[in-house]
């Protein structure tokens, strides 16, 4: 390999190098945005998400628990994010009555649709867990949650074999729309729904759940990010799909660009 390049090939290579680095620089500095927005590129980029979810589901196939912390690990202040006061008349009437008239509807692909009052839910076996809440933005807070495991509720209504997803319909309209298009909703699949730490929480840090944190009932699905932890849950629907709902992506933030699988 001691053969040197001829001077002419050297020149052309020099030219090549120049063109190559200019192309790369141009791509990095100016072309990125155009490239980012190209649908074909977006399609390829999004494929990696299925790879991430597949890899995580493989790692999580034994249904391990998310780490649980102790009382002394609690965040001094747990940030209430997203909606902190649903601007909805029906919700506010319930709130004024201390949620005594609140009824959680569970329907869809179930054997027996049912309604649960807070008293009903609190009478069921409960689980308390101190866990870390990870926001998609990058911050974390540690809080304690008490609630009824979702699988308890699901076994009472009887999930039909066709059901694949659990959809949570919420009372808050996060972008303040008047037509209901900003109504918060979320969905998880049965893999996460039956996980022991997936609970419908009615208490936080030993006290009844406050309105900023999602009273009367919020979801905790501990192996996913904050936007999956739906607050102000009014109705739980079992379904075989969610693409007919609102933006079709399975959740408020999913319709606005975040991934449906929030484990990463």
């Amino acid at each position: 390999m001691n053969r040197p390049p001829s001077s002419s090939s050297l020149v052309s290579r020099r030219g090549l190098i120049g063109v190559g680095s200019a192309g790369l620089g141009g791509l990095l500095l100016s072309g990125c945005d155009r490239l980012t927005n190209a649908p074909s590129v977006q399609h390829v980029i999004a494929r990696a998400q299925s790879l991430s979810m597949g890899a995580q589901r493989l790692l999580l196939s034994g249904q391990p628990l998310a780490r649980e912390y102790t009382v002394k690990d609690l965040s001094p202040v747990f940030k209430a994010n997203g909606s902190t006061m649903p601007d909805d008349d029906a919700y506010q009437t319930l709130m004024d009555g201390g949620f005594a008239d609140y009824r959680l509807k569970v329907d869809g692909l179930v054997a027996t649709p049912r309604q649960f009052s807070l008293v009903d839910l609190k009478a069921m076996p409960s689980r308390t867990q101190i866990t870390r809440h990870d926001c998609v933005e990058g911050w974390s807070a540690i809080g304690g949650w008490t609630g009824v495991p979702l699988h308890q509720v699901l076994s009472l209504v009887g999930v039909l074999p066709a059901a694949r997803f659990v959809i949570f319909h919420c009372a808050d309209d996060l972008d303040g729309s008047l037509d209901g298009s900003g109504q918060y909703y979320e969905s998880i699949d049965l893999f996460d729904a039956i996980h022991p730490q997936t609970i419908l929480a009615y208490a936080m840090n030993g006290a009844p759940l406050t309105v900023p944190h999602g009273a009367p009932l919020r979801l905790r699905v501990e192996r996913q990010l904050g936007y999956k932890q739906a607050k102000y849950i009014m109705r739980i629907e079992l379904a075989d799909r969610f693409d007919h709902l609102k933006g079709g992506k399975g959740g408020y933030w999913e319709d606005r660009g975040y991934e449906w699988y929030g484990g990463i």
């Binding site: 040197p4 998310a66 974390s140 996913q224």
Partner: protein, 291 residues
Amino acid sequence: MTDLSIESPIPGGATAPPKPVREVIYRHTFVVRLTHWINVLAISLLLMSGLQIFNAHPRLYFGQFGADFDKPWIELTTKGTDDRPIGVTRIGGLELNTNGVLGVSKDASGNPEVRGFPRWITLPNDRDLGTGRRWHFFLAWTLVINGLVYVAWGFISGHFRKDLAPTKDDIKPRHIWRNIIDHARLKHPTGEAAKRYNILQKFAYLAVIVVFVPGIVLTGLTMSPGVDAALPWLLDLFGGRPTARSIHFICANLIVLFVIVHVVEVFLAGVVNEMRSMITGRYVVPQEHAT
């Protein structure tokens, strides 16, 4: 094709002083060159999409939790009024005015905008966490798969053993000191010495391969609540998700620092020769100059 490198007697019988031999070696194998350029693209875009993600919460913490009400060790923020914000960077107790670049920079129409890193360095340029994350995770897979190919090749081909592993002679303190002096004088090796990596070069490459890239991948995984449930030892290894996020950022900075030094060295050593060796594999061995 005329071979210019071969020393030849001048026609006519008279002998001129010998021209230096132009020696060309095959320096970088195809796999090394390919994985190198995939890394260039992946790491550049990972940095840019990473800064987009960082901008969603431009503060870093140590510990098991860290949010708005907790104390960050570094933050890109603002001071002054809401009408006239001034971009500042706070590191520990230190406050630096970074207006125009960090904290506050120009938006698409040239008006000041409250923002961690400026739009010209983030992917995408506009504030779009969802798209930034999609890019980042796609590129993270690219980096990891590319890295695994490189590492497998490094072992199989003997690249690690022959080219990167420090030799006994390399790590003699006197040798290392000599090397530091040479670097400080911007003196680059010639002849036989130029055919192999010097010890500081080996240390730099090994630091990236063994510490910075594995560190940035593992801390990236530690930020995933799903991975944390499956591999809780990661949380113990790094001391919590916020700490992992801080180390991720520090590793990114160290990789950027490596790239800057690396590119400066490429220019100092001769950009055409170095670039050609990483594109075609062929490298002209620099000969000793009479100084």
